[in-house]
């Protein structure tokens, strides 16, 4: 199984506050990883380091075998950009471009960044929208959509650049409970198609059902990682059990 992501001894502090301490893990091709843990444990910061929205203080991060850092620090901007285009990120609050139609939200980057032909990009965008069940919304503006629909558009926007690995930071947290299902369904479909994904989530049943592996973080370290049956089962450490107990109440 090809390694899509290798993280070693990753460290990150904000000022005096160490947020990530010695994080190491790997993600294989087609794997779905769920990252869980209490608030403030550094889950978002981890994703932001992996997608270059934050710069790590030390350690190594390789996407599809391409290292972002050397001993002397980050590689130059051009290399980092190529690596970044292999990663996609779905934000908690979507961050769609409000002044563009749904279709243009999806085609803008393929056309302007990857210099794809506009007609071809639009065709691909329509395919993605069909997959998301949003064909009819191509000409709408984000403010005309429900939260769940906006999140599906943002997933389509990330997929339009054909990333090798897709990160999700609590993709359903900003949604009404009845809308989370539609997003989880889309993620399940992507998993079935073999998309490599790392998902920070508070949806424990979803993590158990969909993830190949679950990572439990606390205080900037990975306390435990393993198959869902292990973390959600009897053999989990007391700390994990204690955390999960809060969700089953």
């Amino acid at each position: 199984m090809a390694k899509m992501l290798e993280v070693q001894n990753l460290q990150k502090s904000f000022g005096d506050l160490p947020v990530l301490r010695d994080i190491s893990f790997e993600v294989g091709q087609g794997e779905v990883i769920a990252v869980i843990g209490p608030s403030g444990s550094g889950k978002s910061t981890l994703l932001r380091c992996l997608t270059q929205l934050e710069h790590a203080d030390g350690g190594s991060i390789a996407v599809c075998g391409d290292e972002m850092l050397t001993e002397k620090g980050y590689k130059d901007a051009k290399v980092l950009r190529t690596i970044r285009l292999k990663t996609g990120l779905v934000f908690q609050n979507f961050n769609l471009f409000p002044h563009m139609t749904v279709l243009r939200n999806i085609t803008e980057a393929p056309v302007c960044v990857l210099k794809q032909d506009k007609a071809a990009a639009e065709q691909k965008a329509m395919e993605l929208l069909r997959k998301m069940g949003l064909e009819a919304k191509a000409k709408s503006y984000p403010c005309e959509l429900s939260g769940g629909q906006q999140q599906r558009v943002s997933i389509a926007r990330a997929l339009a650049l054909s990333p090798e690995i897709l990160f999700f930071d609590e993709p359903t947290s900003a949604l009404d409970p009845e809308l989370t299902g539609e997003i989880l369904k889309v993620i399940k479909e992507l998993a079935a198609e073999g998309m490599t994904m790392v998902i920070v989530t508070h949806e424990m049943s979803f993590a158990r059902d969909v993830a190949d592996r679950v990572i439990f973080m606390e205080g900037g370290v990975i306390v435990e990682q393993g198959e869902p049956s292990q973390l959600f089962g009897e053999s989990a450490s007391d700390r994990v059990k204690q955390f999960l107990a809060r969700f089953s109440e």
Binding site: T51, F91, N95, F97, A109, L161
Partner: protein, 237 residues
Amino acid sequence: MTGEETLHLFLLMLQYLLPTLKLFGFTLLYAIPLGMVVALLKMCRIKPVSWLTRLYILIMRGTPLLLQIIVVYYSVPTLRSNAHCPEFLRNLLNHVELKGDAGDVYMFRMILLAFVLNYAAYFAEIFRGGIEAIPKGQYEAAGMLGFSRIQTFFRIILPQVVKRVIPASSNEIITLVKDTSLAYAMGYMEIMYIAKKQMTTYSSLTPLFMAGVFYFVMATLLTLLFSFVEKKLSYYK
């Protein structure tokens, strides 16, 4: 005043509308882009640049435009007759012609310069507010999609800034129409100038009243224009 006189006056004043519009139009043409540059400079990470820009804005907004016009206008003649003026600067300034037709050109340019410097400061503050109101997530989303910094600014940020700054900018622009009358103080021949002159000729307030109507109509047209533009841009939130 008779009806015929009033009509004559109206046609006369119409000719002086052009210089007013010229000052108004050129001020906008230069002050808006300059205001955008000043806004970006003020947000610049290099501290001295940001401080100098802040000082410039403070001075421009903290002193009367009329004072600024007079200072800019008299800067050339005063500087070149100043004993401490460096030689190269004096040589440069000596080339500036202040009399005759060339003097008219000089006057317009100096008044325009003062207006542009003043209005750019006001626009800069509006634009900076607009830029800072764009959520950080927009930059992050653009970055994740591979847009360069320039692409992000022009394709993602600027269009949203334009929408946000239209209400405040339209206030400024409407104020500018009325502020052009300050050029009268330098003897620039615009509507206010002719109105004052005709007031003396006819010993009547009608010319002043008519000037008021000109400004009122221009301000109202601009108000209508901007509410139309705002409506046009209301297709997204």
